[in-house]
Assembly symmetry: C2
Homo-oligomer: 443 residues x 2
């Protein structure tokens, strides 16, 4: 029997095209099914579109965002009004807020994706087997990718652009707090794409706000090949609980920096400060600093002063508090906590073994760094630490698709299969084997 | 909060070590949890074991199978007795049956794995970023792999060997019909491995036959990183329904060969016959033959004769039946059916477009082949067909890890993420980014 998980035999066009607006007469099931079927249908054509068609469409999508910045900003105002101005929600409101310059940044982001090399069709190598057949792997799209995310509306534009460039159809579901902004952005993008020859349905957006939409979406394994959730714990739980589709998680980061006794003190200052304060709300910001006792005596008090000057609250082990009166005592559960703000747990350790044990126990396998001038300890740290990125003498904040040179990223995967760490265009593809034969059979 | 999906902080040793035998006083939950925790614990040490230690262990495991062939064969007799001798189950009983030579084959299979290059530590390239930091990806183990399979006891030996070589702990669950054979094999393997310095728990085997063991196993996402199911539809359904762990499916194959009007007739004979009869019970055997009407007139009747001579039952479209009286009329659902025996559906098509449409509609994205001497049609077939392997002028039976030169395979993945097609040692690994810095920070 045919594999029912991918069905490419769909009616040419649904009778009532979904116009990226609420279609209240449809049930949530019908609505989601229409979207994902259209995406599946589009994906077959997307897979073999030429790079120039895709790039022209990306360029038109970027222009459309700028041309339609007024209605997009108006929609964003609606979201902001609904979100409210409670002081405790200020950080989230900031992430939600669009401006003409933020819209231009989104458009430029899409233009950057257009400039990236097309990952499809690449065949890193072919080899000849003893029977004379030539075998290779060709890079092809995954198919239909579902992306579920929260808050920042720029994810809508980034995701649509990266999926299109890699030949995938996408079905996007943003947070309900950004529903109007996302809908306006998605409408601009998908209309511009269609006008440029991209099959309709290639950029799908779930506009229904009903809570059941997500669980229904997560069961569409016949039409959707991959789910990428980007967000907090409750989203991750929903996805884990309901998805029958493969998932690549973009999960929490509890990142450590271990400052070794062989570290250059000035370099340790620069790296650890950057990792904590440059943008503390991100998953690759440092949450715990581990300091070798040999350097703690001379370095730690001064560094805690620098942290305090940068408004960082330091929660230290007894030794840390002894060395610096600016540190408050850490609670047990401050280790392994993802603060995502200007709070830092600090612990003095007796050697690299204790640092490695601490990281194995409390780390989230996201990003871990060592500062040291000692070759053996650097190599050991690289080898033994199990994380999506392990850095020597560099800030954890550098674990990022742009910084690593992947061109762009759809996020940082904390999964251990398919893609681990920053996911660029390549990670949005899979491969198929091709065989160039001359009559070979299985003996 | 730390990522709870991987917990490496386990007690050193469970109080009552599981001796790969029934421990009836434990609940299924306790039993499974002990196994997967021990596997997780072992995986941390396995990741950094040297290649020579792993190879010595593999060699000892191979020897142990041969040394213990008597108890293994006795256990196999128990399974065969329980399985019974009903004629309709003969094929399955054949797959279940072990013999001294089959045990030697298993042992040799393990020795072959020992000879393969260690995939770990490989860093295909490193690159320098504008800020001077050097970035690369290093191949590392996935962690703990669960493999659920049916019938053939050799899968136990293959899986354990491939997981060990790739630095992964494994937890195996064979079919209940092979429980005694698998238990004897697993005991021989894990004891030999432990004596050779492999951490205990690295090769886990679920001996409990209770039905709830599998659903409980599939929920251990905190300790198990990947599930590979190998088997029929009902196993796939159970896994899809219950697993909270990422899954790489090894699913049905509905494979086609399209014989083009520009095909060499003798080559078409050889390839299509091989794809059907060389081993019809496999997922990469041909299930449907598509024939261009231009060659059908001269070639098809003779080929149907050859098929009949090889005891193949041919179920043809009206045109096929018109050309050959040996063909029976095909039912609608014969297209897209995985016969897994000496039955073949045949359809005459008017051109390559119709062949491509048929494959898109009825294929399972597993293995598809064209026989043609025409360059343009070969290239188009390679480009447009969406399958784990697409072959020109070669038998579908060649879609296989050994045949492709991957060294060994754990199966043929029909998933679209992580690994598609034959999975060798490389596909049992993931990567981590490493950064060699000199003080870089995020600007």
């Amino acid at each position: 029997m045919a594999d029912k998980t991918r069905d490419s035999t769909l009616p040419a066009e649904p009778k009532e095209p979904v116009e990226y607006s609420e279609v209240p007469e449809q049930s949530a099931e019908e609505y989601i099914e229409t979207l994902v079927k259209r995406a599946r249908q589009a994906s077959g054509q997307l897979a073999t579109l030429s790079t120039s068609v895709k790039n022209r469409a990306l360029s038109a999508m970027a222009d459309a965002l700028e041309e339609r910045s007024e209605p997009i900003l108006a929609a964003n105002e609606q979201d902001l009004d609904a979100f409210g101005a409670a002081p405790e929600r200020k950080a989230m409101a900031d992430r939600l807020r669009l401006s003409p310059s933020r819209i231009s940044e989104m458009a430029d982001g899409i233009r950057e994706v257009a400039k990236l090399a097309d990952p499809l069709g690449e065949t890193p190598k072919m080899w000849i087997r003893p029977n004379g057949m030539q075998v290779g792997r060709v890079r092809v799209p995954i198919g239909v990718i579902g992306i579920i995310y929260e808050s920042r509306p720029n994810v809508t534009a980034d995701s649509a652009a990266l999926c299109l460039k890699s030949g995938n159809a996408c079905v996007l579901r943003g947070g309900s707090e950004a529903i109007h902004s996302n809908r306006a952005i998605a409408a601009a993008l998908s209309e511009a794409a269609e006008k440029s020859g991209i099959p309709s349905g290639a950029i799908g957006f779930i506009t229904r706000a009903d809570r059941e939409a997500v669980p229904i979406f997560l069961k569409q394994d016949r039409y959707v090949d991959l789910i990428i959730p980007r967000g907090g714990e409750s989203l991750m739980r929903t996805v884990a609980e309901h998805s029958t589709i493969p998932v690549l998680k973009h999960d929490a980061g509890v990142c450590h920096i271990y400052v070794d006794d062989d570290a250059d003190a000035a370099m340790a200052d620069r790296i650890a400060l950057n990792a904590k304060v440059q943008r503390p709300s991100t998953c690759n910001a440092m949450e715990t600093l581990l300091v070798h006792h040999g350097i703690a005596r001379t370095w730690l008090a001064g560094f805690v002063e620098k942290l305090s000057a940068a408004k960082v609250e330091v929660r230290g082990c007894p030794k840390t508090c002894q060395l610096s009166s600016l540190a408050k005592p850490a609670a047990d559960d401050d280790y392994g906590k993802e603060f995502l703000d200007l709070t830092l747990a600090v612990k003095v350790v007796k050697n690299i073994d204790e640092a490695l044990e601490h990281i194995a126990r409390y780390g989230s396998h996201h990003t871990e760094a060592i500062v040291t001038g000692n070759y053996q300890k650097a190599m050991r740290f690289l080898r033994e630490v199990d994380a999506s990125a392990v850095l020597v003498n560099a800030s954890t904040r550098l674990n990022d698709g742009y910084q690593f040179g992947l061109g762009a990223e759809i996020g940082i995967s904390t999964s251990r299969i398919h893609a681990r760490g920053p996911m660029g265009l390549q990670e949005l593809t899979c491969s198929k084997f091709v065989v160039l034969g001359s009559g070979q059979i299985r003996e």
